[in-house]
Amino acid sequence: MTSLPALAAGTAAAEPLPESGGAAVEGRSPWQLAWARLRRDKVAVASFAVICLIVLLAVFAPVIAGILGHGPNTQFRTTGLSPQGIPVGPGSRFFFGTDDLGRDVFLRVIYGARISLLVGVVASGLAVGVGLLVGLAAGYFAGPVDSVLSRSMDVVLSLPYLVFAIALVSLLGPSLLITIGVIAFFSWASVGRIVRGQVISIKGKEFIEAARSVGSSHARIMFVDLLPNVLAPTIIYATMLIPLSIVFESTLSFLGIGVLPPTATWGNMLSEAIPYYRVAWWFVAFPGLALLVTTMAFNLLGDSVRDALDPRAGHFRTRAGK
């Protein structure tokens, strides 16, 4: 049984044959073809390298703090602030300068990466997990199950998410957990919709009929036969969901309804920095740059992953927070 039949048909022809001179023809799966395409894509490699660097910095943030000899919340009231109480600019002691409380912006930007990546990956992961389950069930079972699940996806998709997020936070209070929950809650439905569409288009194929004829259970058909075939669009959507979640988190934190200070996140650093932009550009510039570079790297990688996995895919995306 071929996995990804649709993909294989669509992309095998477009792939130029390497070394056709005499060498034995080697069969490659669609996944291998996609991987080869991705590795040849310079933009993909570059953005992946940037993401790896950010991940490394985030993971080793405590080590970097150890080398520097202070934490992200250590306040340098004498060395980190001018006598007038103005933040100190970038230099050999504070690479990115200090903030309004005399804290090291460089270290706080690195610690901010931990929150952004954590929220980006966990919220997207949750959304993709729930979306996959719901989409598989809705597409496979059809009938009343499909009606209920599809309508609930429609409802979630037609909620004004930012206003709703404010209402939720007003009841539950802002926190990291609520932030992740809110982002996942407003993201799973689009995954579910895509998966459902894919399942409906392939569940009539012969190999599903064959699986049913040998007595496979519903669960086995859904997870062993259908799941591998909806993975490609899901992976594409997941890579696009990560930067969206990162922007969503930074927006919530900027508005003061996400992750609260003193925990450093790029969003709440920027919100603290705004009153100081006239006197301390570094306080605004570095968290802003970190945020922009990260989301750009993920979006560029996402585009490349889409091109590699499915050169003819449509682009369905929404933005978080305006």
Binding site: R151, D154, V155, S158, L159, P160, Y161, L162, V163, F164, I166, A167, V169, S170, L171, P243, V247, S250, T251, F254, L255, G256, I257, G267, L270, I274, Y277, R278, V284, G288, L291, L292, T295, M296, F298, N299, L300, D303, R312, G314, H315, F316, R317, T318, R319, G321, K322
Partner: protein, 319 residues
């Protein structure tokens, strides 16, 4: 068509009922006691009971639920705790600000996004295409508040320093009072919301145009000898607009309920600012009113989108 409209409206009503029920439940999950908050710390039990009675909070929940739905259905969203004014009055004051921002911004991003998208799609892999898709990705990756702050810094603060006073930093002048000032105060917010949103439209239009221009009927149109401009705009763009229309409906509908981030950055007293302020004041009735209003906008926008579909694309038959 009529059957479709009825079904679609019925779904909209169900969504609104669900939202209203969720929102009603919020009153009871809320961690604070309304009467206690209103009466103050020193109030006697009798005063609290009296306030509860005036607000109708001592009735059975099902009765309160019924009267909440009934009042909401008649456009009565209750009283704001913080301002002692009807929620609808507050919304009435702030809606024109949000609407000014969204309508102006939407015009800019639609024209900018679609025309740039078409430009890129009709010259695939050219310098124009690469430059516009690159720029689109930059603005697509940019959080709205970040772009707003950058524009404020460059166009308000830096220009202000060298004595150029074109763009005000914050505030709002009603259109009825002075249309010119109204536009002047809204230019930066319009630009902010339009640039980040146009990025999505460029990507959407480009992708969808590329798909459509490969269709057989485009080849047929060309073979009939129709000019390329007419092929692109009358035959290509018309069909390619379908995903753009969906996105436009969702965006305008969502933003009309409060362009929270943009209003926050530019100090515009719109619905989004009202929502943030109500959050800090724990003003539950106002938040709930705003959620209901915002949901209504999205529901209505979705119905309009479906109608526009059938007008744009002859292949869509509504049933």
């Amino acid at each position: 068509m009529l059957r479709f409209l009825v079904r679609r409206t019925a779904f909209g009503v169900v969504v609104m009922w669900l939202v209203a029920s969720i929102v009603f439940a919020m009153y009871f999950i809320a961690p604070h006691n309304v009467a206690r908050t209103l009466a103050g710390r020193q109030a006697s039990a009798a005063t609290v009971a009296a306030i509860n009675h005036t607000l109708g909070l001592d009735r059975p929940i099902i009765v309160q639920y019924g009267s909440f739905l009934w009042r909401a259905l008649h456009g009565n969203l209750g009283y704001s705790y913080a301002n002692a004014e009807p929620v609808t009055t507050l919304i009435g004051q702030d809606l024109p600000v949000t609407a000014s921002l969204v309508v102006g911004g939407a015009l800019i991003w639609l024209v900018l996004g679609v025309s740039t998208g078409v430009l890129a799609a009709t010259r695939p892999r050219s310098v124009t295409d690469r430059a516009t898709t690159g720029l689109a990705l930059l603005f697509y990756s940019m959080p709205t508040f970040l772009l707003g702050e950058i524009l404020l810094f460059v166009l308000f603060f830096r220009l202000h320093l060298i004595g150029v006073d074109w763009f005000p930093g914050a505030g709002y002048v009603p259109f009825t009072q002075d249309p010119l000032q109204w536009a002047r105060y809204l230019i930066l917010p319009w630009l902010t919301i339009a640039l980040v949103t146009a990025a999505t439209y460029i990507r959407l239009t480009r992708g969808s145009m590329l798909d459509v221009m490969g269709e057989d009927y485009i080849r047929t149109a060309r073979s009939k000898g129709i000019g390329e401009g007419r092929v692109i705009y009358r035959h290509g763009l018309r069909a390619a607009l379908t995903p753009v229309v969906t996105q436009f409906g969702i965006d305008v509908g969502t933003l009309l309920g409060g362009a929270i981030v943009t209003e926050n950055v530019f100090g515009l007293p719109g619905l989004g600012e009202l929502a943030i302020n109500s959050l800090t004041k724990q003003d539950l009735p106002t938040i709930i009113g705003l959620v209901l209003l915002a949901s209504a906008f999205v529901v209505i926008a979705n119905i309009i989108v479906d109608i526009v579909y059938s007008l744009l694309d002859a292949r869509v038959r509504l049933s």
